[in-house]
Symmetry: C2
Subunit: 348 residues, 2 copies
Amino acid sequence: MDGWSVEVIDQRRLPHDFSIVQLTNVEEAAVAIKDMVVRGAPLIGATAAYGMALAMRSDASDATLEDAHSMLLETRPTAVNLRWALETMREVLLPLPREERLVTAYSQAARICDEDVEINRSLGEHGLKILQEIAARKKPGEPVNVLTHCNAGWIATVDWGTALAPIYLAHDSGLPVHVWVDETRPRNQGASLTAWELANHGVPHTLIVDNAGGHLMQHGMVDVCIVGTDRTTSCGDVCNKIGTYLKALAAKDNGVPFYVALPSSTIDWSLRDGLKEIPIEQRDAREVTHVRGLNAEGELAEVAITEATTKASNYGFDVTPARLVTGLITECGVCEASEAGLKKLFNK
Amino acid sequence: MDGWSVEVIDQRRLPHDFSIVQLTNVEEAAVAIKDMVVRGAPLIGATAAYGMALAMRSDASDATLEDAHSMLLETRPTAVNLRWALETMREVLLPLPREERLVTAYSQAARICDEDVEINRSLGEHGLKILQEIAARKKPGEPVNVLTHCNAGWIATVDWGTALAPIYLAHDSGLPVHVWVDETRPRNQGASLTAWELANHGVPHTLIVDNAGGHLMQHGMVDVCIVGTDRTTSCGDVCNKIGTYLKALAAKDNGVPFYVALPSSTIDWSLRDGLKEIPIEQRDAREVTHVRGLNAEGELAEVAITEATTKASNYGFDVTPARLVTGLITECGVCEASEAGLKKLFNK
């Protein structure tokens, strides 16, 4: 706690080990995003904002500002909050005289974080109403079964989370919820982060493989799906962790409502067709061929699940077309996943 | 090679270790099926048939025959080849005088195995025509991209496999094929068995997580899906490894043909509605919370991907409704996945 370095939880070591990493310059911030020490669209944005502040600490010149912007922007191509946070920082800092940039950078990054907390709490309240309506149609005391994919909880944001915010608020208000947690291969953010978050908050949950959700929906065991998103287009197409599209198809096929929770900073107003226009990040094949966990000795270790020669491909995200999305839960309310729905809600 | 014990490959150790397990009595055969030393509907049937032969070796009485039948039948509830093979053995053995049962049991089990090889080769040839038709519509030399889920290769049968049989025949005939291999959580039969089989046969392939297939189909990277099945109803509903349904939904949504390859012994003529009538096996949660592979020291080891307290559920199969299936590839030809299609092909 030196007052200037940035402390983040190393999410790669959860749930087995809670360790804090200190970021002391922009390069370290970029590596933390790229290597997924931090992940989750809102948290990536917040970390990038602080990365800009760290850059200003070494040198508050225009060149350093632009270099930091480029370096951080390149770390993850799909999430749009990253770009949004970096643009916000640049717009605020560039007009300022150099000597004011450092202090403003820290205060602006802090503002982005504070706003994220408020936004998520607010979208959580809008999502809570959806869960309350579902609960009202069930027998008293019967839990609302929510399926979620990947992690869009507080650890993906600054606090509360997006998809998990309504769940936390429901649980805290005494509404019984049970969450089906997709493990979310290849990086298992569901198994390692969502299950860990829910356990810490006392929310009943059951881990499942990504293959299982369709079967559960066929058998009436899921009342609603709620996921996060890394980028949503102006027409309501939703880019999120690979596999989200398959769950949306199963929800549609079984009449299960499928909601996406997002801060409005996740909307990319410049795009329409998510399938054609959103760049899909490809990551290291090793994330597929190797699995990390705790070995029998209680140490973090990796095992290879394939022969060493096996080739793998690793697309990080997919796009769920708006036609499969029941609604978008935002800090301003819930809207239809369509151009009309988004325009109306955001007065565009 | 003592002339009477039954040797099987321990599939739990593949692809890292090729080791043979000797089954010397019916109890060992039952455990081998239950613990998935052997798996794959046709191979389960063949192993169960030999399990009956091993039982006859200890005592050829009616009581032992019935006990062996019950014990083996209980090992896996979903696959119907198991029941079919056991019924076949009982029908052949029960009318015989005791002194003839042992020899006949071995010869009948061998016949089941020989027939399996013939059946798979035959269904492979019917499936090959489908791949040839797809290839004819592509640019010369461009590979046909096949997506498969789980393992329905030679190691799931006695030889050739079901879903992989057309692929092997295509490759051997010089038709270029490339296979997208779903890793198939929780047991990773795709990563450990299908990828290993295809590599040994020289068939180009790429491993993907189960979440990825929808994205690939959205982007035109899959020409056809072919999977196996553990039980198919008289109306064409297909029960197969959990997650198959999600791929069938994505195939339908993207106009990708979705075929299921099966020996007719996999058809359960007594059932109509697969969703309501097929029992879905639930397996140990540890298959979800722990992953087995090769550690840095080159030893087979398990890692926990969750906290020790995380609860998981593990449904082994799901049912793909006939409406999502383009066709059934059988040893008698290809038919529509419907009551009419099946009745016509099998003269029922």
